[in-house]
Symmetry: C2
Subunit: 300 residues, 2 copies
């Protein structure tokens, strides 16, 4: 399973219906991308076990993206057997924590804090998480990419017909070919490459065509869309994007699906923003709190 759950989809100011930014990413482990105020209760409401959070990734240190982390840590510490939790955050997080930690019951060894730099920041069993820089006011801000490894998948009927069995499947993947009864069988004859799934989350960013390159071919682009075209100038001024700008990035990046999030409270529901985006990129929706998107692996 590879599933994304939107726990909070508001911009800086939440509303009765939108919690502050947080995204749960479930694969073999459970990750959080951003952790706005109230995140732990949203997890409880959505049936996402907070005790299972393996690591928390923070795009940037603006309050709306990070203030849920302290309460969540305390809850995990008090209510689970966990001995450690990993936090990936831009420089400055430890200073934030230093003000708060004297009032917490935590043991410093409970937190494993890693400062985010551009590049691969997490390596999983068959996937990596990368951080890329985004431009958002003067903040030290990143976006994240989840990238599953490409995999050789066999056309099983064909491979068996050609006599492949047992260790030959390992051998052919290592060498690129194998000899079966005196005949050479090429890997490409019996297999295809399943492209790893790719999810890109921008965090907060101005319109930046560089993101299209980073997002190239993604199965899912989660792009902030704080404003509509009516507030394009305000978006630029405040380091944010419009729905249409997000759609342009999705289009240039040839992604499969676009989900808008970080929706300003001005837009009662996100449907007007989604409409604007679809003028440019048809497969676009605006997330609401609780939106779940499951990405199934490619099949042949």
């Amino acid at each position: 399973m590879l599933k994304v759950t939107f726990l909070g989809t508001s911009a800086a100011v939440p509303s009765a219906s939108r919690a502050m930014p947080a995204i749960a990413l479930k694969y073999d482990k459970l990750f959080l991308w951003d952790c706005g105020e109230g995140c732990q209760r949203e997890m409880m409401r959505r049936g996402i076990g907070y005790g299972g959070v393996d690591a928390i990734f923070i795009t940037h240190l603006h309050l709306d993206h990070v203030m849920g982390i302290f309460g969540l840590i305390e809850t995990i510490r008090m209510n689970t057997e966990r001995e450690k939790i990993t936090i990936f955050a831009p420089r400055g997080f430890e200073r934030m924590l230093s003000g708060i930690s004297p009032t917490m019951g935590w043991d410093p060894s409970f937190l494993d804090i890693r400062e985010i730099e551009e590049g691969e920041i997490y390596r999983g069993k068959d996937y990596s998480i990368f951080a890329f820089r985004v431009k958002h006011q003067r903040s030290n801000a990143f976006g994240f990419v989840f990238l599953e490894d490409d995999k050789n998948k066999f056309y099983e009927a064909k491979a068996k017909k050609l006599g492949l069995k047992g260790r030959m499947f390992t051998e052919i993947q290592k060498k690129g070919f194998v000899e079966v009864g005196g005949k050479r069988v090429e890997l490409s004859d019996v297999s295809w490459v399943r492209r790893g799934r790719k999810i890109v989350y921008t965090g907060d960013t101005v319109y930046d065509e560089g993101i299209a390159k980073t997002a190239m071919g993604a199965d899912l682009l989660i792009h902030e869309a704080t404003f509509g075209e009516d507030l394009k100038e305000e978006a630029e001024l405040r380091g944010h994007s419009t729905a249409k700008q997000a759609a342009k990035i999705a289009d240039m990046g040839e992604v499969k699906r676009l989900v808008l999030t970080h929706i300003s409270g001005r837009y009662r529901n996100g449907s007007s923003l989604a409409r604007e985006a679809r003028e440019i990129f048809p497969d676009a929706v605006a997330a609401v709190d609780g939106t779940e998107i499951e990405l199934t692996p490619e099949k042949k």
Copy 2:
């Protein structure tokens, strides 16, 4: 109007149905007593305008009582015309803020931070708010008392019959008597003293009979009741009270009503705790998120 709204009624760990501790107190102004994580959204949900918060009072600096304050301040700063907000908090709050403030857009002059000491901490038009010390682990913890001034109220028919009019009402209150047509009228003949309304909130505390004295005669005692009798020892160990202990304080303090709050997630709803309390003090309920209690002034 004097109204209390429970915005959050959980203990340290929230649940899907209980937000972290926060109480809105509405009289001529709007105050918050504690401000747990998510408080601003609970205000939005309950139709309590966050922009009108005049001052925030924090009982102690444990995360569950204070983490909602930073996001709320930011929202008020961004979305209202307010120039200042007052925060009453125990020593240590400024240190907490110092870690977080570099990531906020705030101007230090936006916050008026007052360190809580025992005694009167706020004087309103005809009421005061007092802080009193409570015992809660090693923290610097307080409870709060809202106390309306006593007022002379005239038996109007009787006063008029005796000839009182115009400035005589002011005069009799100053001097204690007034001469009407050669006859002396005593203040006590034509008026009665309406006792000011009194609300007491304990914050987090162990069982402490001193609180009964502080709460003496209160119209409303809001006492923490983290645990039931099954966990009486744990309550003591962790600096908390049981529902029965809260009821004992209500009984000794001869208060009119008792509301239990700060309910541990162990107790699905608070009804078992309320039952335990009612064995000792009949007018006891367990708050849920959204519970509103309006206190009407005494009439004769």
